[in-house]
Symmetry: C2
């Protein structure tokens, strides 16, 4: 098991992708007016990409400019002190190919907000990293 | 009730602060090698600031440079389609004043990772915004 300098288990790309398949809410990371922002979205993992819907707004702005977006998902239990987090980056783009749109339209991507989200965004996971808290690790380390 | 263009309830600063008090895990937003990153931390709300611990690494780098950090907390139930998110920004700094350190040291800020996190960071919530999903809102809007 590879461990980083903070004592967290370093997850492989394959482990990160498996974890991304288990969740449905992630956070798109970008900047807005030069400030870092995180925007929760409903997403699905499709091959090596994350796919989500968006409407005219902040998230699409980044995509229009061809910016690299970040994507973060985590699941932490503060009481049991277990959990994981995955961070990914890629150049997102709006899906416009009719065949691809038809395929992706079947994914369970209903947005959480009631607004109009007509655009499908694909974020290829060009870089993926992840960490897992190893249960009991803190106590072991502190006692060592 | 104020609603944004996506049909989400716009929360007041006071509502955002109340929600920040209910959680213990948030995400520090910054950039690392020009990429947006989100780093889960154990935090506490202390007056109008978020306080968390850190060690030598990415998060502190941003603080050293005097950068504006973002902070995001959310709690979304994808099945019941309810939840909220709060996004904050401020110029974070490392707490070095001995009196302040002694006061903050009593906060429940044990990091999730087993590593060494000797530094206390205070992130004044200079800008705070939040959104809440209003249950049933989506169906009402779609049916209208």
């Amino acid at each position: 098991m590879d461990v980083d300098r903070n004592g967290l288990q370093i997850l492989t790309r394959a482990e990160c992708l498996r974890l991304l398949e288990t969740a449905t809410i992630g956070r798109v990371l970008t900047s807005h007016r030069a400030l870092p922002v995180a925007l929760p979205v409903t997403y699905a993992l499709q091959e090596d990409s994350v796919v989500f819907r968006t409407g005219p707004g902040t998230k699409l702005h980044g995509v229009d400019r061809g910016a690299v977006l970040g994507f973060e998902v985590d699941d932490v239990d503060p009481v049991r002190r277990t959990g994981w987090s995955v961070l990914a980056h890629g150049e997102a783009y709006q899906v416009t190919d009719p065949d691809e749109l038809a395929r992706l339209d079947r994914l369970p991507l209903e947005p959480l907000a009631p607004g109009f989200f007509p655009f499908l965004i694909r974020l290829p996971l060009q870089e993926v990293s992840g960490r897992r808290i190893v249960a009991g690790q803190r106590e072991v380390t502190l006692g060592a």
